[in-house]
């Protein structure tokens, strides 16, 4: 395990070293007054909606209208792909229920996949439909975060949060696109295909016929990782050698999962002029991330009950990795797969480099809990940093009650209105997840999707709705597509996107209008270790307590049966 731990530490060091300068750059991108020539031309082309500051309702309105309009376009594309170009393997239209769920899944930055990409989607659907959403939905998430932060930072003079279209343009052109090009080039150098040729056919050494799916894969995989999207070209996602050929490609894809999310915290500290506070949040997020890895890695290395009882050799040695290798790849082994499972659910990414359904009870509980907490460690590019802000507000509020003062955050008074939005933002999605899981377990149509028997089958169901409602997209992939599960999931996808997003914008708008209260001796400090520990406690006591009963029915029972 020593070498595995070494890989984890190097990963953490590189992540911290790169997220810092990127965060500084992002703060610059969103605070610069004058846009470039192309930006100004683009905004003029978009018309009235793209000029001037928007208040939170106008900003949210643009987001909702844009998302719904793009949903219609994408759904049409998926249904018509059989008649369109860039379809060298002559794939037919995507069935209506899968197209509906996939549309919702990609416009909400989730990338839950009820289909096998290489066997379902034409090249046109992949690159001009799905991959475009991987840029745009992530750009929307970044834009909303920038707007909320502007609201928090505003020191008098109006209630504007910026302009959605301008923020969207800058998110994509100055952050997502350049990083994607760099990552795609790295992936191409490692062997990820990037071609417009259709399937290759091979005659194997034993004379059998083998069809090899390929395509313009590298470009999509780059943005899939960077934009916390997670929807792969192939069904087995980044476990497939064509998506993730080497240990090095795995390292960079992993880095891309957490890079922008952690950089957002640095950006936040600079934009609100509270760098120490931002570093406290950074430390809290990093702690939760490290705790997850510290549970998942040893659990997977220890192996599953079935494997230990079988008598085969699962001991780590110089010639094998050992442990729970079910649905894992030889070149990644245990450490890299456990790290990936944790990172991809600390944020709303959802890509995988090994099958989560086959994880041990403890190893599978880590991604499940991560998602249920709202992926606030530190929140995806798409689902945004605002998820963490809800918890910060609750923590500030609790602290205020304890010392008997009106709670303040970054110089602004926190009152009933903000607390209502924070409570909705933090609790609506977990509540929805529990209701949907209960419905899917109670209804025979829901049980039809379950693949594994016993407690594990319950975990599959809980995981499916936790993942979709939190816009993650990773899966206990045995959970199957039916009309029932795709439709219920679609509802979860849209509500899970818009509830927290609009609550976050509302808080930004509300804080923007407030006057700054000068800090005094009685102000509760939010830039020290005390606040960090309080915040950890609040996260554990709100969503953490909500999932505990469900966790008991799933992974805990399964673990005790060992």
């Amino acid at each position: 395990m020593g070498q595995g731990i070494g890989q984890l530490l190097v990963y953490a060091a590189v992540l911290i070293a790169l997220s810092y300068p990127l965060g500084i750059w992002m703060a610059h991108v969103y605070t610069r007054e004058r846009g470039d020539v192309v930006e100004r031309a683009f905004l003029r082309l978009l018309g009235k909606d793209a000029s001037g500051d928007q208040n939170w309702k106008q900003y949210g309105g643009s987001v909702v209208v844009f998302t719904i309009a793009f949903s219609v376009f994408l759904y049409g594309l998926l249904r018509l792909q059989g008649h369109l170009f860039l379809n060298p393997d002559h794939l037919p239209a995507v069935p209506w229920d899968v197209a509906l769920n996939t549309t919702a899944s990609f416009v909400t930055n989730t990338n839950w996949q009820y289909y096998a990409g290489e066997a379902t989607m034409s090249y046109l659907s992949q690159i001009a439909g799905l991959a475009v959403q991987q840029f745009v939905s992530a750009g929307v998430g970044l834009a909303v975060v920038a707007a909320v932060i502007r609201g928090i930072a505003r020191r008098g003079g109006g209630v504007g949060l910026g302009n959605f279209w301008r923020d969207l343009y800058r998110s994509i052109v100055y952050i997502l696109l350049p990083l994607s090009i760099v990552l795609a080039v790295i992936l191409i150098s490692q062997g990820v295909p990037q071609t417009f040729h259709g399937h290759a056919t091979a005659t194997t050494l034993q004379g059998a016929h083998q069809t090899i799916a390929r395509g313009p894969v590298a470009g999509m995989i780059a943005v899939k990782q960077l934009g916390t999207n997670g929807g792969g070209w192939y069904d087995s996602n980044s476990a497939v050698p064509f998506e993730n050929p080497t240990g090095l490609s795995n390292f960079f894809e992993l880095l891309a999962i957490l890079l922008i999310p952690f950089a957002q915290l640095v950006m936040f500290g600079r934009m609100v002029l509270a760098r120490r506070h931002a570093w406290v949040l950074y430390a809290v997020c990093f702690t939760i991330f490290a705790l997850g890895v510290a549970i998942a890695f040893p659990a997977e290395q220890h192996g599953s009950q079935v494997l230990r009882n079988s008598g085969v050799n699962i001991t780590h040695s110089a010639s094998q990795v050992g442990g729970n290798m079910t649905d894992k790849e030889t070149r990644f082994g245990i450490a890299n797969t456990a790290l990936w499972a944790t990172a991809t659910t600390d944020v709303s990414n959802g890509s995988v480099d090994g099958g989560h359904d086959a994880l041990t009870p403890a190893g599978g509980a880590v991604p499940l809990v991560n998602m249920f907490l709202g992926e606030v460690e530190p929140g995806g590019v798409g689902s945004g940093l605002y998820g963490l802000f809800f918890y910060v507000l609750i923590a500030v509020f609790v602290a205020g009650l304890m010392v008997g003062r009106t709670p303040e955050w970054l110089g602004k008074k926190i009152e009933a209105r903000e607390m209502k939005f924070a409570a909705v933002g933090a609790l609506a999605v977990p509540t929805m997840v529990l209701v949907m899981t209960a419905a899917a377990i109670a209804a025979p149509a829901g049980l039809a999707s379950v693949f594994n028997p016993g407690a594990h089958g319950f975990t599959e169901t809980l995981y499916a709705y936790t993942s979709q409602a939190n816009n993650n997209g990773s899966a206990f992939a045995g959970y199957a597509a039916t009309n029932f599960s795709t439709t219920l999931g679609t509802v979860g996808l849209y509500f899970g996107r818009f509830f927290p997003l609009l609550a976050g914008l509302a808080i930004g708008g509300s804080l923007a209008a407030k006057r700054v209260v000068p800090a005094s001796a009685g102000t509760f400090r939010t830039d020290g270790a005390t606040f960090g520990i309080l915040l950890l406690g609040v996260i554990a006591l709100t969503a953490g307590l909500m999932i505990l009963p469900a966790l008991t029915l799933g992974p805990i029972v399964e673990g005790l049966m060992h």
Binding site: S236, P241, A318
Partner: protein
């Protein structure tokens, strides 16, 4: 709302053109100019025919070849429809599959490895890989198969061992990922060792 809708329509068109066509076209251009072999799927050509990809496992059942890890795809080792097995850690079906695979290995390798027991079979040899087309096996699983290959092909054991070593893919830069043996490349090397 109408203004937002108009802006949306324009933004949809522009983003689809730039991100959906220009970006992949640019990346394809770069890939084809700098690394066309990899960009087209790392295909391996022997005597004018494509025999596979070094990034995809293929089915080996003959005792003359090193065997791959189990695959959960339909048919096995299908790079046009990858899938996990999704077998949970307490699923009896997993226990059955592991036993079945271990028994098959004992039967195949036993004659060449007297005293072979299930405790010597490495775990990756009996459980499905993530992609179903994992091109590599652990060094331990390659070592387990070397005596059979040497005997069936009438090769010195040292030759087979040296070929395994040559086709072992170490950690990248000596550090990232885990080591494994590329089965297709190894089997091709075996064939050319004997075929001349």
């Amino acid at each position: 709302m109408l203004r937002a809708l108009l802006a949306s329509v324009v933004a949809i068109v522009v983003s689809t053109v730039v991100l959906g066509f220009a970006y992949p076209a640019l990346m394809t251009g770069i890939a084809q100019l700098t690394a066309s072999h990899k960009a087209n799927g790392s295909l391996i050509v022997r005597n004018g025919t494509v025999v596979g990809s070094s990034l995809a496992a293929q089915e080996f059942t003959s005792p003359r070849y090193f065997h791959e890890r189990p695959s959960a795809t339909t048919p096995p080792y299908n790079p046009a429809f990858t899938t996990f097995s999704n077998l949970g850690p307490t699923n009896p079906a997993l226990a059955k599959l592991v036993k079945q695979n271990a028994d098959a290995i004992l039967k195949l390798e036993g004659p060449y490895n007297p005293g072979l027991t299930i405790h010597q079979i490495p775990v990756d040899a009996v459980v499905p890989s993530g992609s179903g087309i994992d091109p590599e096996i652990s060094i331990a699983y390659a070592d387990l198969q070397e005596r059979r290959i040497a005997a069936v092909r009438h090769l010195p054991l040292a030759t087979v061992q040296s070929l395994i070593e040559q086709h072992t893919v170490g950690r990248q830069l000596g550090f990232f990922g885990e080591a494994g043996v590329n089965v297709l490349n190894l089997n091709l090397a075996l064939d050319s060792e004997q075929g001349g």
